[in-house]
Amino acid sequence: MRLPFCIGCMELIRSDKLVFEYVRRDKNGEVDGFVRAIDEVSLEINQGDFIAVLGPNGSGKSTLAKHLNSILRPTEGTLYIDGMDSADSDKIWDIRSTVGMVFQNPENQMIGTIVEEDVAFAPENLGIEPREIEERVKESLITVEMLGHRKASPSKLSGGQKQRVAIAGVLAMHPKCIVLDEPTAMLDPVGRKEVIRAIRALNDVENITIILITHNMEEVIYADRIYVMNKGRMVMSGTPREVFSKPEELEENHLAVPVVTRLAHELRKAGMNIPEGILTRKELCEAICRS
């Protein structure tokens, strides 16, 4: 467990009342109005944190993710990444190599015809020496346990393997933070497990800040902190235990708590002596045995 506060922690991401609006047009291309995809979101994320962002479809979580590496710029408010202003167009490449992005569809982010080439794409763009690129490719593929497939064609890999190659492709930039935008949404349960394990290893071993955007509740129980978004606003935040101890509030935001947590909550309401915010099956068993 990390301490809830720490002195001397490196602050990596700070946003203050971040707003993003886009223009909605009608069929004739006339301006129809403005849509607030992100509405006054303030965040603070430290180096080494594992953050999960939850929210139903259209809650603005993907839009927020795209701000974190300067693909989108804030309409109002400020966003600082590692001390760099994301609105500053001179810093755009520094920001993008500090914060890597992994997207939902693994097929649409493969650039190389073989795995190794794909992982090398980012360092090639950064103008790194060939020998160093080779080292980075090797070490990134080892981290996601895909070194054995370095010469394979991405089209021959499973979804989970493709997504791990995509993570390796980002790792090869040596980022401080990786944002994963629903990386498991298109995977089967096995692929999901592989990817989540790889993400946790990055956070634990390499101390890379992880921002996991998802609507799968089972994946977020490992997070240090959860942010819940709805309609562009940050509606809840806290540790998984804190957030999951309010299942009614989560449901108001179109999210369902994990089955175990739900069961624990209902048992508690029915009068059993079970603590709030049960996350795993093991915890629930122990609590029931004790009560």
């Binding site: 190599s97 992005m101 649409n108 650039i111 015809t113 090639e124 064609s153 089209s155």
Partner: protein
């Protein structure tokens, strides 16, 4: 069924030609194709055949595989031969009704067909021994000087290699769309050719839509991995001339000299 189509006809094996720098192979192919039109004499054909046969042997690619490319152009070969046989004026060998076959006609027809066969086999040696991605790398580096004339060489090479990556993805997508439509009663297999072509329209529309969506996703993914054009970009495996590549240049020059000598002498 649609996924059986193989693209690019790279034949994976180990040979000197496989290891050669793609730039050498590109220039070599160009030079060989040009050389085929330099000579008229019988001796020239001997030189060109000796060169081609030794390349085929060196490539370690089965001859059967090599000749497969000829099947596709069989019609063109046949038409060329027939036209040459009947249309060339000269000493008449056989004649019936209005048709005359001349000795010169037979001669040009045979040489023309041999020339075309050499041309196709020669260029397929290049595609058989070079991976598509090496080929685009070779084009990018070998044609780099075109940048002076504002030809976007890097962009074209990048487009080619992305297209290569996406061919299997789009084939799979086509397969999926076809199955989805077959499940709802679409019929792609019966009827005449026009009806079948018409049945393809409802496949192409969703395919195009999804291709554009994929292109957009890919563009964002590339940008977020710091892609900003060819300026200042490095390569994981940069192309570098080795001794064998210089040697290959020597061989090519020797061949060119031989062909020119033959063309001048005979």
């Amino acid at each position: 069924m649609i996924r059986d189509i193989t693209l690019g006809q790279y034949y994976p094996t180990e040979s000197v030609l496989h290891r050669l720098d793609p730039r050498v192979k590109l220039w070599g192919t160009l030079l060989y194709v040009m050389s085929l039109f330099l000579f008229q004499s019988f001796a020239g054909y001997i030189v060109a055949s000796v060169f081609l046969v030794s390349l085929i042997i060196m490539s370690h690619v089965p001859v059967k595989f090599m000749l497969r490319g000829l099947k596709a152009v069989f019609v063109i070969l046949a038409v060329t031969a027939v036209l040459n046989v009947f249309m060339t004026p000269g000493r008449v060998l056989v004649s019936f009704w209005k048709i005359k076959i001349t000795i010169e006609g037979l001669r040009t027809a045979a040489f023309m067909v041999i020339r075309l066969v050499f041309l196709i086999t020669g260029s397929s040696i290049m595609t058989l021994t070079t991976t598509p991605s090496d080929l685009t790398d070779g084009l990018e580096k070998g044609l780099g000087w075109l940048k002076i004339f504002r030809v976007p060489v890097h962009e074209i090479a990048m487009m080619m290699s992305i297209a290569l990556t996406f061919i299997p993805v789009l084939l799979e997508e086509t397969d999926r769309i076809m199955k989805a439509q077959q499940a709802r009663g679409a019929d792609f297999e019966s009827g005449n050719i026009i009806r079948r072509a018409k049945a393809l329209v409802p496949i192409l529309v969703p395919l195009f839509v999804s291709a554009f969506r994929r292109a957009n996703d890919l563009a964002i993914a590339m940008e977020s991995r710091c892609y900003r054009g060819g300026e200042g970009r490095t390569k994981l495996n940069p192309l570098k001339y080795a001794m064998r590549d210089y040697a290959a240049h020597g061989v090519l020059l020797a061949y060119l000299a031989a062909i020119i000598a033959v063309a001048v002498i005979f």
